[in-house]
């Protein structure tokens, strides 16, 4: 599985930090989220899918194997 946040779409709503708290972190000075390195595979896939589904800007991409 691959997960990433499209930096051109993310507007810093930060709902992914609630829906997958171990999967995303916030880059304050850029006002956007990114996937925590190494979290894919550890965090339940369902959490990433929820984060993608609830992202208002549709910025989170989950590619299933």
């Amino acid at each position: 599985m691959k997960v990433y946040v499209d930096p051109s779409k993310c507007r810093g709503h930060a709902l992914c930090l609630t829906n997958a708290p171990e999967g995303f972190e916030f880059i304050t000075l850029e006002d956007r989220s990114q996937v925590i390195e190494g979290s894919v595979g550890k965090v339940p896939a369902e959490e990433f899918l929820t984060a993608a589904r609830e992202c208002p800007e549709r910025a989170i991409v989950v590619e299933l194997d």
Binding site: R11, A14, T28, T50, R53, C55, E57
Partner: protein, 417 residues
């Protein structure tokens, strides 16, 4: 149809196609929006059209279809945020920063205050927000009755906003009164609103003067220190930046909290669900934000002629972005009038989207969740005294409540008086 520069009280369903435009009988500052919000939503959504033209206030577009609004908000080059967008014209003379600004410089302004408006900062404020909430509820919990508008949900965000700015937070009722007048009097009593704006200008001016001898570690000092493209802000720009913090901070979180409490009072099953799932409230708030958000609407102005979703829009046309109504679009939210705190795919637009996404959204969410949790914990049987409930006369800018009297089984203070 009425064509005038004042509002028209509407309410009848008389949409007609004329001049290629889908014309609607609609005035967002009307009593219809204030008193019959759900019916109005059904009427406009029921047209099956995502947008329409109203002849009120010299004419303006409204967009309420979710997909159309999503497209518009992601295209700031076409849908500009310049000050000519307001319906009717605003009572403050210069652009608020950064909401009335377009392009890269708008993002630069935002960056200067991101240290204050990020999820981590909101989390760090949680203990203080809890404390203010506890104190406010302590002040009335033994009484068995309260006006939750004044005594809780208007007070809390106002105090938090003033504390972030490091302005005297005990003066919150005065600031709130000016902010309310700016937002809710602008359409029908512009002189009164203009006087409130002058009071805000003067009081922010006094805060500027207070910091000339040295900055502090507060949001307002950072606004004053802002430099963009090597230029420091003028005093007027400092005022325009701080004023927006007040407008964004004071009325909006209050609005959604009040709106939600009214819904809960109407719906015993929902009330019980919130009591039973009290730990779920930080996520449950998304559904209240969707269904009962405080947004009347924000505006844009067209930068060129365009056919948009089949409608002939012209350069200079003003556009009301009806985020709250897009939140009721059945194509995006199945069974949109149902409040389902476990709803999925809840990509509501209450904080806007795109480059102008509400900067205070993280704080707003936290304050709302805190107040809702404490009300459902400490006065879970609150009963709204409907005879005393008053909305602001004009809810076109922010859909909020001025008085919300309740009774409840008295409880104990958390902290001694």
């Amino acid at each position: 149809m009425t064509s005038s520069d004042t509002g028209t009280d509407t309410g009848t369903d008389t949409e007609t196609a004329a001049g290629g435009k889908f014309v609607i009988d609609f005035d967002h500052h009307s009593a219809e929006l204030r008193d019959h919000n759900d019916e109005l939503a059904r009427r406009l959504v029921g047209t099956g059209c995502p947008m329409g033209w109203s002849n009120s206030y010299g004419g303006f577009w409204s967009i309420w279809g979710y997909d159309a609004l999503y497209e518009a908000v992601q295209d700031p080059e076409l849908f500009s945020s310049g000050v000519a967008k307001h319906v009717p014209k605003v009572v403050y003379p210069s652009p608020l920063i950064p909401i009335d600004i377009d392009g890269p410089i708008q993002q630069e302004y935002r960056k200067k205050v991101l240290a204050w408006f990020n999820p981590g900062h909101a989390r760090a404020m949680a203990p203080r927000i809890n404390q203010i909430c506890d104190e406010l509820i302590d002040n009335f919990i033994e009484r068995g009755e309260a006006d939750l508008a004044h005594e809780l949900f208007t007070a809390l965000p106002a105090k938090v906003t003033l504390e972030m700015l490091d302005w005297e937070s005990d003066r919150w009722p005065e600031w709130v009164e000016w902010v309310h007048s700016t937002i809710h009097d602008a359409a029908f009593d512009p002189e009164r609103a203009a006087a409130a704006v002058q009071s805000v200008y003067a009081s922010i001016g006094a805060e500027i003067a207070r910091r000339r001898d040295g900055f502090g570690e507060d949001l307002f000092s950072d606004i004053m220190r802002t430099e963009v493209n090597g230029q420091t802000l003028t005093d007027q720009q400092i005022i325009d930046f701080a004023f927006l913090v007040l407008l964004g901070g004071m009325d909006t979180t209050a609005g959604v909290t009040g709106n939600s409490l009214l819904r809960i009072d109407h719906d015993p099953a929902l009330r019980q669900q919130l009591i039973d799932e009290i730990d779920y409230i930080p996520k449950a708030i998304e559904e209240f934000l969707r269904h009962d958000g405080p947004g009347g609407g924000l505006y844009r102005v067209l930068t060129r002629d365009v056919e948009f979703h089949g409608q002939p829009m012209e350069k200079g046309d003003r556009v009301l972005m009806m985020f709250w109504l897009a939140n009721r679009d059945p194509a995006a939210f199945p069974d949109p009038e149902k409040i389902d705190i476990h709803r999925t795919n809840n990509r509501h637009m209450t904080f806007g989207m795109g480059p102008h996404r509400c900067l205070g959204s993280h704080h707003g969410r936290l304050m709302f969740a805190t107040m809702l949790r404490e009300v459902m914990t400490r006065l879970p049987d609150f009963k709204v005294q409907w005879d005393g409930v008053r909305r602001f006369d004009d809810c076109g800018g922010v859909y909020a409540i001025r008085y919300l009297p309740v009774t409840f089984t008295p409880g104990s203070r958390k902290h001694p008086a």
